[in-house]
């Protein structure tokens, strides 16, 4: 039974304005659906600015495309247009999924870019910080251990819980927006200490040697563990900034691994016993070459080696990855038949410009897209062959773009294909 504190009751009764009332009502129904007993205060929320239905669907429900009406109809699920004043919690917005510099390269063209610019301005107006990245922790929103958050964006949720020790459930756009307005989130699931402990142990028989290996392992366990919380008892520290981002993304692509532990690496797993709440999990699974090969097979759907499009930066590349990419592309030229897109956020792009990385990458013929997502690229022809170094991207490309031929490989294999025009990747 859900119990409301006095300030929550006040919001629900409309004594703090209509926006908070509607948001609190949505959160109360959501909390009841979960079986939560109370709310907890949150001062760290992320929204996904760009996650909206296609513009023709939006226009069918909001013909004027007025942003206050869109936010009310979509984010607050309200037929009444509510003009929001300011959010209550510190809130950052993830990618708009549109780089304003390249309207024609992205689905929906100029019209979709214009809409996203209106959404960005709307969010700024109501006090949201437009970080415009799926990896907010690479750009200034990095929760502290134990902080109660209400985050939207699957890979970031897993990273927040597992790698940073922040606490978030898998929030959707609606619940995150309501949390931003009210500063409340249901005290349920991963906000509670007892629900964060591992219930299954994973023993690996082949250590990941590359980011690709982390992707493959995450992809395998997302599909096989569902909503369980694994503790990986014998994994080595990846010693880079991106592999755990990739691992977090993969487990949320095929499943809902919003929390995992790596003994000796992640903050709530100093020991196996600590990760599992004072015991060793009864269930144990292993991961070896067979599982690795199976995940690789599932992610490679192409039989055509001539590559048309290469997509890097899913989740958004940070500075470490961009520096590497710049070094690898410096002085080289992409093959005439290949387009290479790499996605990141505006803050990283600004530093790349000053460090010379942007020049090295673009002079090779690649396109750096900020605030965007490879999945909104205009694939003019579904017969195109796409290659990527992201298991998440490889998984989502067919369903969202119509492209059927996808290669998944290492970053080096993608760069090699970008220069030669031919895919030569293989599982090593």
């Amino acid at each position: 039974m859900l119990k409301l504190k006095p300030d929550e009751q006040e919001m629900l009764e409309g004594r703090q304005g209509r926006a908070r009332q509607v948001a609190m009502s949505l959160l109360a129904r959501y909390a009841e659906g979960l079986g939560a007993e109370s709310f907890v205060d949150t001062n760290n929320v992320t929204l996904i600015a760009g996650t909206l239905p296609d513009i023709d669907i939006l226009r069918s429900v909001v013909p004027s495309l007025d942003v206050d009406a869109i936010a009310s109809k979509v984010f607050l699920d309200s037929d009444e247009t509510i003009v929001v004043d300011k959010v209550r919690a510190f809130t950052t917005a993830n990618a708009t999924h549109r780089d304003q510099r390249y309207p024609t390269l992205q689905r929906g063209g100029q019209e979709a870019c214009d809409l996203m610019q209106s959404i960005e301005r709307y969010l700024k107006r109501i006090g949201v910080v437009n970080l415009l990245t799926c990896t907010p922790y690479q750009s200034g929103n990095s929760p502290r251990k134990g902080e109660h958050c209400a985050w939207n964006e699957s890979s970031a949720q897993a990273y927040c819980n597992s790698v940073l020790g922040g606490r978030t459930n898998i929030e959707g756009q609606h619940s995150a927006f309501a949390s931003a307005l009210t500063g409340k989130t249901p005290l349920w699931g991963l906000h509670l200490e007892e629900n964060r402990r591992a219930d299954i142990r994973v023993e690996v028989q082949c250590q990941p040697r590359s980011t690709q290996d982390w992707y493959l392992m995450g992809y395998h366990f997302g599909a096989t563990l569902g909503q369980r919380i694994p503790v990986y008892s014998n994994l080595d520290d990846p010693r880079d900034l991106y592999s755990l981002i990739a691992f977090s993304a993969a487990g949320m692509t095929t499943g809902s691994i919003a929390m995992y532990h790596i003994v000796g690496v992640t903050p709530e797993a100093p020991t196996l016993e600590a990760a599992a709440g004072g015991r060793s999990p009864k269930d144990v699974v292993t991961y070896g070459e067979a599982e690795r090969a199976q995940a690789y097979e599932r992610l490679n759907s192409s039989d055509t080696r001539a590559v048309d499009v290469i997509i890097l930066g899913c989740p958004h590349y940070g500075l470490e990855r961009m520096k590497e990419l710049a070094e690898k592309l410096e002085g080289r030229k992409l093959h005439d038949n290949v387009a290479l897109y790499v996605t990141t956020m505006r803050s990283v792009k600004a530093i790349m410009d000053r460090e010379g990385y942007s020049d090295a990458i673009t002079q090779a013929g690649a396109v750096i897209m900020e605030d965007s997502c490879g999945l909104v690229l205009n694939m003019v022809d579904p017969s195109m062959v796409v290659a990527t170094d992201s298991a998440k991207m490889a998984h989502y490309v067919p369903g969202t773009t119509g492209v059927r031929q996808v290669w998944f490989g290492t970053t080096d294999e993608c760069i090699r294909a970008a220069v030669s025009g031919t895919w030569s990747g293989e599982l090593r």
Binding site: L26, R29, Y30, G33, L34, G35, I48, T51, L52, P53, D54, I57, L58, S60, V61, V74, D77, N152, E153, S154, Q157, N169, I170, E171, G172, Q173, H174, S175, G189, A223, G226, Q227, M252, T253, T254, G255, S256, Q294, E297, R298, S301, Y396, P398, G399, T400
Partner: protein, 159 residues
Amino acid sequence: MSETIRGRGIYPGVVEGEALVMEDCLGGYGAFNVRTGEIIEASPNKGHSVAGKVVFFRRAKGSSSWSIWHQALKFTGSAPAAYVVQESNTQVALGAVVLRIPAVELGRATAAKVATGDWVRVNGDEGTVEIIGAGNRVTQAACEAAKPSRDLASHPTER
């Protein structure tokens, strides 16, 4: 034939409809055509539509934009009539809230009693699902006979 299965109500309301039983998980982003409700993701139910159906599934999966794409089904007139899920989570609860459709969480064993095409009544207030009549189970047979995609061939469905 009428049999009532008891579970937990996620979102209130009572509705009757035809069951679409998915043995796997239900995604949001990239899982279906939001204009028609047709499932487009590689799955045993590919080609079936969720529109107007009581959708039985194991769990929610995938992108946390789940509720946005399920809400979009409402905007296009392709929303499901109800959700019946074996194991609920935040995505299912939020999806039901924004679609305003009855939703019930059932245990894993009980969900197996229902087949695609059955006529069922979902009571989100009481947390029950009543099987009113066995439907035309040809739908399911046809679905099972469909050639599995490459994706599924290497990923056996859990039972």
